[in-house]
């Protein structure tokens, strides 16, 4: 077997971030409707989640076409009309399913990789 290199780890983390990002977006919409700029801002506030803010919009579009979110346009007191995103029933289901698996998986990885003795 080929030796594991640093590039592999970086590549894997990029893939994991890409894969988890849609669920982070769904999670932001779990309890309330939000508009695009707000979603982008909340994701950007957490370090390491998003590098190019503009790529969130294709992601939102994909989630809409997959039926996980739906949108409504609303007038704003300042600036142009805003497109609000909210979860559909399917979106809630997808989020809950992922959240459960993620908890198990991240807990398992943390068990071995986290600081200290794994037997603790």
């Amino acid at each position: 077997m080929r030796r594991m290199e640093q590039g592999d780890a970086l590549n894997l983390l990029t893939q994991m971030r890409r894969g988890a990002l849609p669920y982070c977006v769904l999670a932001l919409l779990r309890d309330e409707q939000r508009y695009g700029v707000e979603i982008v801002r909340l994701l950007g506030e957490v370090d390491g989640m998003v590098t190019s803010e503009g790529t969130i919009y294709p992601l939102l579009s994909r989630l809409r076409r997959q039926g996980l979110v739906e949108t409504t346009w609303r007038e704003s007191t300042a600036g142009p009309p805003r497109r609000y995103y909210q979860l559909t029933a399917a979106g809630h289901q997808a989020l809950d399913a992922f959240a459960g698996e993620w908890e198990r998986f991240s807990g398992a990885v943390e068990h071995f990789i986290g600081e200290g003795d794994p037997k603790r």
């Binding site: 700029v37 190019s52 803010e53 790529t55 142009p80």
Partner: protein, 201 residues
């Protein structure tokens, strides 16, 4: 148009051309979303100075990055990019060769199949083993089966009720041989296409 408006329009213009492969509705949606994002973000700022606009555009990332992200779900069914670019399709030439092996003998009796064999052996796509299989399984391709069908169509007798009786038990043997040859030909054609695709990968 002010200089900062020009910056925004240039950015959106780049996005539009980078996203040219997207379905038009999806491209229009993307452009609207990004334009709205810029407008709303700037309306939160103190002013629309050049520095503010540049910051907003920088944070969005390059138009090419955004367009690439928008295109990712269009290629969900295809293999990852690394193999997609390295992989070539079976060439038209290879396809013609395999089709001629199957039906060349019917279109141009006898000669068509010979031409196909010449093409097969001239091609660098297949190994000698592939070429032997393509030639020997089965010579003439579907010619034998079609020949049999024409032959039996002439010699079998059909009653007005639609049921046909063939003359002689040798017809059954000939039909079996014809079918075996046809199945073999088709199997070897599929094999050759598979090998050609493999060689192209």
């Amino acid at each position: 148009m002010t200089a900062t408006d020009q910056l925004i329009e240039d950015y959106l213009g780049r996005l539009e051309s980078a996203a040219s492969t997207l379905p038009s509705a999806q491209r229009a949606e993307l452009l609207t979303e990004i334009r709205t994002h810029i407008e709303i973000t700037l309306s939160h700022e103190e002013g629309r100075g050049e520095a503010a606009v540049r910051t907003v555009l920088d944070r969005l990332g390059t138009p090419e990055d955004i367009a690439r992200e928008a295109g990712t779900d269009l290629t969900v069914e295809s293999p990852p990019q690394a193999t997609a670019t390295g992989r070539r399709r079976v060439g038209a030439f290879d396809l013609v060769t395999v089709i001629l092996l199957l039906v060349g003998g019917i279109v141009l009796p006898g000669l068509g199949w010979v031409i196909a064999v010449v093409l097969l052996w001239a091609s660098a796509r297949w190994t000698t083993r592939d070429k032997l299989i393509g030639t020997l399984v089965f010579p003439g391709g579907l010619t034998a089966l079609v020949g049999f069908l024409l032959f039996s169509g002439g010699s079998s007798q059909c009653s007005p009720s639609g049921s046909c009786t063939s003359s002689g038990s040798s017809v059954g043997v000939a039909l079996t041989l014809g079918l075996v040859a046809a199945a073999g030909s088709i199997a070897s054609a599929v094999y050759l296409l598979h090998r050609a695709q493999h060689a192209a990968a």
